[in-house]
């Protein structure tokens, strides 16, 4: 694997979509698509206080790189894949994940972006505990 084509990490630090996009800019690139996952302020009518994200960091980063490799296998026009997921306590409105893909042209970027977030939610060992304003808390998964 060529690391310069696939930049994935799990971090405690705040993340910014702009900073991730900049990593992908090079002369051959004419399109960058991004997905930004943000902490929502309510779930099924209950107000959320914050989310606590927990990862199995070494496997999570390996899994994110695998997703990048899968994308480049399915859509060879994708030049670079960057997936950055934040962990720790995140307040409502803060960015939890940024996925950015680059290509010379936009054609396949949207399908590849949807694949990236769907696959992340399916296989990446990251968990979130939702803490509600009413004091209750629960671990949430996609099921």
């Amino acid at each position: 694997m060529d690391d310069t084509r696939n930049r994935c990490e799990v971090t405690q630090a705040p993340i910014s979509a702009d900073e991730v996009i900049v990593r992908l800019i090079e002369p051959a690139v004419g399109a960058v698509v991004t997905f930004v996952g943000v902490v929502r302020g309510q779930t099924e009518g209950r107000r959320t206080l914050h989310l606590e994200y927990e990862a199995y960091p070494s496997m999570a980063e390996q899994t994110l790189r695998q997703i990048g490799d899968e994308i480049q296998g399915r859509w060879p026009s994708i030049r670079q894949v960057a997936i950055v997921h934040r962990v720790g306590r995140l307040a409502v409105g803060q960015t939890a994940v940024v996925i950015a893909l680059s290509a010379a042209h936009r054609a396949e970027t949207f399908d590849a972006l949807r694949y990236a977030i769907d696959r992340l939610k399916e296989i990446t060992p990251i968990w979130k505990k939702e803490v509600f304003v009413d004091g209750e808390a629960e671990w949430r998964s996609e099921e």
Binding site: K129, W139, S141
Partner: protein, 81 residues
Amino acid sequence: MDVNVRLFAAPREAVGTNELTVTLPDGATVAELIQQLTEAHPVLKAYVRFLSVAVNRAYVGQQTELHDGDEVALLPPVGGG
């Protein structure tokens, strides 16, 4: 042989630790590890049927044979993004 077990999210909170060292007979499988763990920590029983297992950071099946020094992660349903 000894394996290093890592726990996350709800089962981690239930057991009260994120890491356990478990001694098993040579040739033991993932299923046998889980059996032994649930006997030692009955609180895990509520989670077992929802768990995926990774050995050395790769998803594996229940019949996978373990080796001394393996890192075995018990992974509840993931919720990233």
